[in-house]
């Protein structure tokens, strides 16, 4: 356990960084950061409920002003057209949320609904078996690629999705009992006729948004190198190559649960379109299909509904959110947990340190490396987490490694501890227990730890 996988997977990246060769790296012992500033000078010190909503320190005045304006549009509810507030009309007619902040509340993380609640900070992507160009998911003929759970007055929402949880009990080797929630999803109340009988559902909670501009600045070459490393202890990361609507070519996917978006801009415009029913220069069509009768009668909020200016402001906002500093970094328990994280092999996918080339996108932030705990690559996570649908290069069982920075503040910011793509895990340990596929060895190693060591790993994760 002491010779980490990292020595097998790191060398190419080391050489690319101009650091040192493989042997030296392993002689010196590859280290975890043990550092409070997860994003160097782009780290923010706020550990309050507003921890995820801070601008990176040191933004230029112009970008800071854009940040605040973008924030206001991020928070504001959009309304149906026509409206006196023409800046922000055009909502829907089909939508999941009225504002970005409805799902990314306080720029944080969504969760599945509690019993009796509507699905609010979570949505359901849909498709039918097969694949389109470049492996794109095939939309349902009537309902398209996403179920919109709300509609403007005069129109009925597409459908509801109900969740049923089955309790799965298990025990750690040392006898500690755990219980997981295994979800199943069903479509109900379809408003435009029956959905395909083969429909595939992929429920997803809204992720926290910290540090996205930095993840965007990780060089393509770094990700190519990480993806080219040979398989070690079952881990092989893959790049999802997805259409970049700005260039018209395929680019490396970085954002979204399946790494299906190549840039903060496209992710933002995609969310405006799919989640709020708003067109922009990247997505010029509304989110309903030709087979749906009704939505086409509703007035548009303009062409496009989200002006270029507002789209760019919101993109700047999202891309300039700083990363909260870690807490309790050197508590012995946390420090021990950090070392265990490496020894267990967790860092095989949750890569602690990546280089960034931010000269172009964020020139005023002098930053060379970040500690996001992700490789931005796809990994097979096993049958239990699979949604059985292809998204470009990603198979149903493959998910992009989510960054872990900010993890420990989700409960503070969002008042819950639901994790994984559909929020089924109620705690960090449950999330670990769901890891399978390429992460099976790391999970097995985790459950075989003594309880005090498991607690240390969780304490480390809570410090992020």
């Amino acid at each position: 356990m002491t010779l980490p996988w990292a020595c097998a997977r790191a060398p190419k990246l080391f050489m690319a960084l101009g650091a040192i060769a493989l042997t030296a790296a392993c002689e010196h012992g590859v280290r975890m950061p043990h550092e409070a500033a997860s994003a160097g000078p782009a780290t923010v010190t706020d550990a309050t409920r507003d921890a995820f909503g801070q601008p990176m320190p040191g933004l230029s005045q112009a970008r800071r002003h854009q940040f605040f304006v973008g924030n206001s549009f991020f928070n504001l509810n959009w309304v149906s057209a026509p409206a006196s507030v023409s800046d922000r009309d055009g909502l829907g007619p089909l939508f999941n949320a009225r504002s970005c902040s409805a799902c990314h509340f306080k720029d944080g993380r969504g969760r599945p609904p509690e019993a009796g609640e509507n699905m609010l900070s979570m949505l359901v992507r849909i498709s039918v078996p097969g694949a389109g160009p470049n492996g794109a998911p095939l939309p349902d003929p009537i309902y398209g690629d996403q179920l919109q759970s709300s509609a403007v007055p005069g129109l009925t929402a597409e459908a509801e999705v109900t969740i049923e949880y089955r309790q799965v009990r298990g025990t750690y080797p040392d006898g500690e009992v755990y219980e997981l929630l295994s979800p199943s999803y069903r479509i109900a109340r379809t408003a435009f006729g029956p959905a395909s009988t083969e429909i595939l559902l992929s429920p997803r909670v809204a992720p926290a948004l910290v540090g996205l501009g930095l993840l965007e600045a990780v060089p393509d070459a770094t990700l190519e190198l990480l993806a080219s490393e040979t398989e070690h202890e079952g881990i092989t990361g893959r790049i999802n190559r997805v259409p970049d609507l700005t260039s018209g070519a395929l680019s490396i996917g970085r954002f979204g649960w399946k790494a299906e978006q190549p840039s903060v801009l496209q992710q933002t415009a995609g969310a405006f379109n799919g989640d709020m029913g708003l067109t922009s220069r990247l997505f010029t069509s509304e989110n309903h299909t030709a087979r749906q009768s009704g939505p086409e009668h509703f007035e548009s909020g303009g062409a496009p509904e989200v002006s270029d200016e507002i789209l760019d402001q919101v993109t700047t906002y999202v891309g300039s959110l700083g990363v909260p500093a870690r807490r309790d970094v050197a508590l012995p328990q946390v420090s021990r947990g950090e070392d265990l994280f490496l020894e267990l092999g967790c860092a095989g996918c949750h890569v602690p340190t990546l280089p960034v080339a931010s000269k172009e996108s964020l020139p005023e932030i002098g930053i060379e490396e970040i500690h996001p705990y992700t490789d931005l690559l796809l990994h097979d996570m096993g049958e239990g987490l699979s949604d059985h649908r292809q998204v470009y290069g990603a198979s149903g069982g493959e998910w992009r490694t989510p960054p872990l920075w900010g993890l420990g503040l989700v409960s503070k910011v969002n008042g819950h501890t639901r994790l994984l793509h559909d929020g089924r895990a109620r705690s960090t340990s449950e999330a670990i227990l769901w890891h399978d596929g390429e992460a099976k060895l790391a999970r097995e190693a985790f459950i075989h730890l003594q309880q005090v060591e498991r607690t240390a790993v969780l304490a480390f994760l809570a410090s992020l």
Partner: protein, 414 residues
């Protein structure tokens, strides 16, 4: 894992810079030396800490707590006056009772805005602030318009209104889906502001209707919102009350004096720069949109801004006035700072005065001042105010550096 030994050494500078400000807030961060750090002893903080006399710091902390208690007590009193006026309006709607209720709202705003300087560090106010002063609000979420019934008009979904219903709905569907607080009450009292030369013009008849009517629901909602306002403000007031062994004031007083001062500076910096300079002024200045003004229904925004700036200045000078009569005159931040860095203290005192003056020069109504060319009196005054507040925030971040805390990055909450 990719950090080589070399990279580790390179990172030490960042660690050296990062630790002092993290350590300063002992309530939020554990102070530490890295145990696995094989590269020698931890670097000393790069900023030399000035030896401030503990007694001065303690005097400042005492004044700070006194002002906080006074401001929240006045805010509670203001809200109770508002409640009497709102009860009178709802019980007997008329032009006169509506005018009286609006007047009471305007009066109640002064102490609350002065108290905003106590936000932004997980203090007592930060637990309930989202229920008190969140803005902008989505009017349609509260009260109906063409496209939505709002909570007031949605009898089916919300058959019975209650404070717990309103609290539960507040911000549950997004950061502008707001159901409680000053601006919801403001909207219910004034309605949307569609005039260029004045505030909203909701008629008193909006509250006059038989049992079970929309108008009656609106009045019931208004009463509940005021009731919740009072109880939220009281929950903060008791935390700052003297003589309690277990409230926040005692915790605050028992903090190492430098840590308590660091919290105060953090709040002042966050309110100055990101909140006032950024969200309340820059956004309105850049978008020229009325909905981005703080009190858009009553046209009270310029007064709100001024009270915020006066609140910051008051913590700096150690003074608090009730109805223009000075009731507290103690040790301000500038006094405490003067012992170690008289130049910075003088600069901060000057800067807070300049912010107040710049904001005072913004012509009312604010929604007209933001319009037109940048050279108009309104826009140039707002531009000056933004620069003054950013300068003030910069000075406060220098003060924070003296106490080992960095505040430049702190953004406003709501």
């Amino acid at each position: 894992m990719f950090a080589s030994a070399d990279a580790g050494i390179r990172k030490r500078d960042a660690i050296g810079r990062a630790l002092p400000w993290l350590c300063a807030l002992s309530t939020a961060f554990a102070c530490e030396t890295h145990p696995n750090d094989a590269n020698g002893p931890k670097q000393e903080p790069s900023v030399q800490v000035s030896p401030l006399e503990t007694t001065t710091l303690q005097a400042f902390n005492k004044t700070y707590a006194e002002i906080a208690y006074a401001a929240y007590s006045d805010a509670v009193d203001g809200a109770k006056q508002l409640q009497s006026a709102v009860d009178a309006l709802v019980d007997a709607p008329s032009d006169s009772t509506l005018v009286q209720a609006r007047k009471a709202w305007l009066i109640a705003r002064h102490p609350y805005q002065r108290s905003e300087v106590f936000r932004f560090y997980d203090g007592p106010i930060d637990r309930v602030e989202m229920r008190l002063n969140t803005w902008p609000i989505d009017e349609g979420f509260v009260d109906g318009n063409a496209s939505t019934a709002g909570i007031v008009g949605d009898f089916e979904r919300y058959p019975a209104l209650s404070t717990s219903l309103l609290v539960g709905l507040n911000a549950a569907q997004g950061e502008t889906s707001i159901s409680t607080g000053y601006h919801v009450i403001e909207y219910l009292l004034w309605g949307a502001d569609k005039r260029n030369d004045g505030a909203g013009e909701r008629p008193f008849s909006d509250f006059k209707g038989p049992t079970g009517s929309l108008q009656q629901r609106r009045g019931a909602y208004l009463k509940l919102a005021v009731q919740q306002l009072i109880s939220d403000l009281q929950s903060v007031q008791v935390e700052w009350a003297p003589g309690s062994a277990q409230n926040y004031r005692t915790t605050f007083s028992n903090l190492p004096p430098r840590d308590a001062l660091a919290l105060a500076v953090k709040g002042m910096g966050a309110l100055s720069g990101p909140e006032l300079g950024g969200e309340r002024l820059t956004v309105a200045y850049e978008t020229k949109a009325q909905e981005n003004e703080h009190s858009c229904f009553s046209d009270n925004t310029t007064v709100d801004l001024l009270d915020d700036a006066l609140g910051i200045e008051g913590v700096c000078t150690g003074r608090y006035a009730r109805a223009d009569v000075e009731v507290i005159h103690g040790t301000g931040l500038c006094d405490a700072l003067a012992a170690s860095d008289p130049e910075l203290a003088a600069a901060l005192r000057k800067s807070t005065g300049e912010s107040v003056a710049a904001i005072r020069s913004i012509p009312a109504p604010f929604d007209q001042a933001i319009l037109g060319a940048d050279s108009t009196p309104g826009r140039s005054a707002i531009g000056r105010s933004i620069r003054a507040l950013e300068q003030q925030a910069e000075l406060l971040s220098r003060v924070a550096a003296i106490f080992g805390l960095r505040v430049a990055s702190v953004k406003g909450g709501s």
